[in-house]
């Protein structure tokens, strides 16, 4: 997992999975890198092969953090299974999904 940070944006790439196995550690890692000036948190999910309910919990948690500083979370290029899970749980209405 890699992080790229600018003045107002932080980008996370290289995530392979977001499950109960790693959700806790990823959550801690990302939250530690978010600064108050960040307005957007872009999570590149083009390589994520599995997203479970714990992974969803992580995304909601990060969404809350960004909302508190008037920012937002964007899910970038989700794989089909990630998109299916987001739609099944209706979180595609909460999290912004973008494709490039």
């Amino acid at each position: 997992m890699e992080f790229e940070s600018t003045s107002d944006r932080i980008v996370i790439t290289g995530i392979k999975e977001l499950t109960a196995t790693n959700a806790g550690s990823v959550k801690d890692d990302v939250r530690s890198r978010i600064r108050p000036e960040h307005e957007v948190l872009d999570i590149d999910m083009s390589e994520v092969r599995i997203l479970d309910s714990s992974g969803l919990g992580l995304l909601i948690s990060l969404h809350k953090v960004m909302c508190q500083q008037n920012g937002l979370v964007r899910i970038k290029n989700p794989t089909p299974i990630v998109e299916q899970v987001l739609e099944l749980t209706r979180l595609h209405r909460l999290l912004e999904i973008t494709r490039q």
Binding site: A20, L56, R90
Partner: protein, 599 residues
């Protein structure tokens, strides 16, 4: 039959998230080897991950859970996949209808996701172990099976169609061959039609050709007499088939094959091995294995019935052979109809000629010239609606006294030949009764006596009027047998028009009726008209194509009487009055006699 082992996979691991990661991936890899695509594997991985998450979560919560492993068992069936996740924790309550938590909640979605991703899921909570059962139908396999099934059905259909096509081609080839044979034969026979002088031998040769084409052995062709409901043998393949006439009406043997086909107006087929015939049925004489009987109907007319038998064939007649039979039968029937019509034409021509002769004879019986009578002229005419007529008139002079004349007019009920025969008899009887010349009523009685039996025997009658005129004494005696009245007047306008119709029934109605005899004077410059009902019942142009009628005739008579002209002049005037439209056929005979005294 050896049953092939179904794919399955089993793995167990320590109750720990890190330890679970690799076994879950191995399960997914196993599914990949079973042909699951990326999306299916993704759904299974999420569902198994959630199941394992729950197991490990509750394992951690349990006081003694950490010592027991978690196991995953996979069973791949042709149409579904079942995965069992087993743990040894205290378990939890599996919601019957899991729902989503609020969107801000960070947990509580696992069971809901399993429920959504799987087709079936169940959680069996036990004392020492819990089992989460996940089941999902194999969409890919299902689709493949459905597709395969569809193709197999398609192939079967195509194979069936191919078989049908082969059969159709065979049948068409056979039919085409038969058609060629039948057409060839019909053309061959068609060339004979112009020089056909013996229809019986033509039928024999045609039907012999038919049974050769059909591979049959014998035939019997019979013509129908629809009035008598009988069939008569017309042509047969051998002498022993010369059958006597056979009835097909009610009460007859309608179960015999020929009557059966006639009554039902359709072909009858029999395999005599399967269905024995009535021993009395004429077609038993075929001694055939297969018999086909075809009623020949042209338009609505039943012409005959054709029976064909095959004794050496192993199979019933094919549809192509049946078609050939029908074609030949129709062809023969048309020839029979043509010949019958030709004969009718010839017969009709002969009848026409005979009628023409009869007409000439009848005309020759009517007065052809009018005798000289001092101061008087006579005219008369019989205009017939057909060749021969039932109307009749005669003018008979006394043998020795030229001033005495007998005027006779008659109308036999009906028209045509029967009426003309009675008219001729009537004339002969009148002519042979000179002794009653001066007593018309007695003459009428004699005529009735002589003709009553014959007339009543055929329900016919004659209306007649006889007027004896003594021009010297200027007296007239009239007798009437149901006939139109006699009109009597004179040129003098002051004298009335008299209509004389003495009492008397038509001849042939009663055996001995009485006939009144009326005597009246003959005025100077008299005008006398005797006529048949065809005169007053004609539709004439002179009165706007309406019936002339008695009143209009009397009016004409009243107007015409003033003219000083001979009887022939009155005749021309009356005929002009009777003129019908040129396109109209005269409906009844018109006959009249005129007696005129000229000043």
């Amino acid at each position: 039959m050896r049953r092939e082992a179904l794919p399955s996979f089993y793995v167990q691991f320590e109750c720990d998230m890190d330890a679970a990661r690799t076994p879950i991936r191995r399960v997914i890899a196993f599914l990949e080897t079973c042909g699951f695509d990326f999306n299916e594997r993704g759904a299974w991985e999420v569902a198994i991950q959630e199941g394992v998450n729950n197991a490990i979560l509750h394992c951690k919560l349990a006081k003694n859970g950490s010592s027991h492993p978690v196991a995953i068992e996979v069973m791949v069936r042709p149409d579904y996949v079942e995965v069992l996740v087993q743990d040894h924790t205290q378990g939890f309550c599996w919601p019957v209808s899991p729902s989503l938590p609020s969107s801000n909640s960070e947990d509580g979605r696992g069971v809901y996701m399993i429920h959504q991703l799987m087709d079936d899921s169940d959680y069996l909570r036990g004392t020492h172990s819990n089992r989460l059962l996940l089941r999902k139908n194999r969409k890919l396999t299902q689709a493949f099976n459905a597709e395969e099934k569809k193709w197999q059905e398609r192939i079967q259909t195509l194979e069936g169609q191919l078989d049908e096509s082969d059969k159709s081609l065979d049948s068409m080839q056979e039919e085409l061959f038969s058609c060629y044979e039948s057409l060839s034969a019909i053309f061959q026979f068609g060339t004979e039609l112009g020089k056909l002088d013996d229809i019986n031998s033509f039928a024999d040769r045609l039907l012999q050709q038919l049974i050769t084409i059909m591979g049959a052995n014998c035939y019997l062709f019979r013509t129908c007499d629809e009035k008598k409901r009988l069939i008569h043998t017309y042509s047969r393949s051998s002498a022993n088939l010369n059958m006597p006439p056979l009835g097909w009406g009610p009460g007859e043997s309608q179960h015999f094959l020929e009557p059966l086909s006639i009554v039902n107006r359709k072909d009858v087929l029999r395999d005599t091995n399967l269905e024995k015939l009535d021993p009395a049925d004429p077609v038993n004489a075929f001694n055939a294995k297969y018999i086909q009987v075809h009623p020949i109907i042209i338009g609505e007319e039943l012409i005959g019935v054709l029976s064909v038998g095959a004794s050496e064939s192993d199979e019933p007649f094919t549809s192509a052979q049946t078609n050939v039979m029908h074609t030949f039968a129709d062809f023969l029937a048309l020839q029979l109809i043509n010949i019958s019509r030709q004969e009718e034409r010839i017969k009709f021509g002969k009848i026409s000629k005979e009628l023409e002769i009869a007409h000439n004879i009848q005309n020759s019986l009517l007065p052809s010239h009018w005798p000289e009578m001092e101061g008087f002229t006579l005219a008369g005419e019989c205009i017939t609606s057909r060749n021969v007529s039932g109307d009749f008139f005669d003018v008979i002079h006394h043998e020795s006294d030229p001033n005495k004349v007998l005027l006779v007019i008659a109308d036999v009920m009906g028209k045509g030949v029967p009426a003309s025969i009675f008219a001729a008899i009537f004339r002969s009887l009148v002519r042979s009764s000179t002794e009653l010349f001066e007593r018309p009523a007695e003459l009428m009685e004699k005529l009735n006596r002589s003709m009553f039996e014959d007339l009543s025997g055929v329900d016919m009658f004659i209306t007649a009027q006889i007027a004896y005129c003594d021009l010297g004494k200027r007296v007239m005696r009239i007798s009437n047998a149901g006939h139109c009245p006699l009109l009597l007047s004179a040129r003098n306008e002051t004298l009335p028009i008299k209509t004389h119709s003495p009492e008397g029934l038509p001849l042939g109605v009663m055996k001995n009726p009485e006939f009144e005899e009326l005597e009246t004077g003959i005025p100077r410059e008299c005008r006398v008209l005797m006529y048949t009902d065809g005169i007053v019942e004609t539709t004439t142009q002179m009165v706007g194509n309406e019936l002339l009628g008695q009143k209009r005739l009397v009016r004409w008579f009243k107007d015409a009487r003033c003219i000083d002209q001979k009887a022939s002049g009155f005749q021309a005037s009356l005929k002009d009055h009777l003129r019908v439209n040129s396109g109209d056929q005269l409906k009844d005979d018109q006959t009249f006699i005129l007696l005129v005294e000229n000043g």
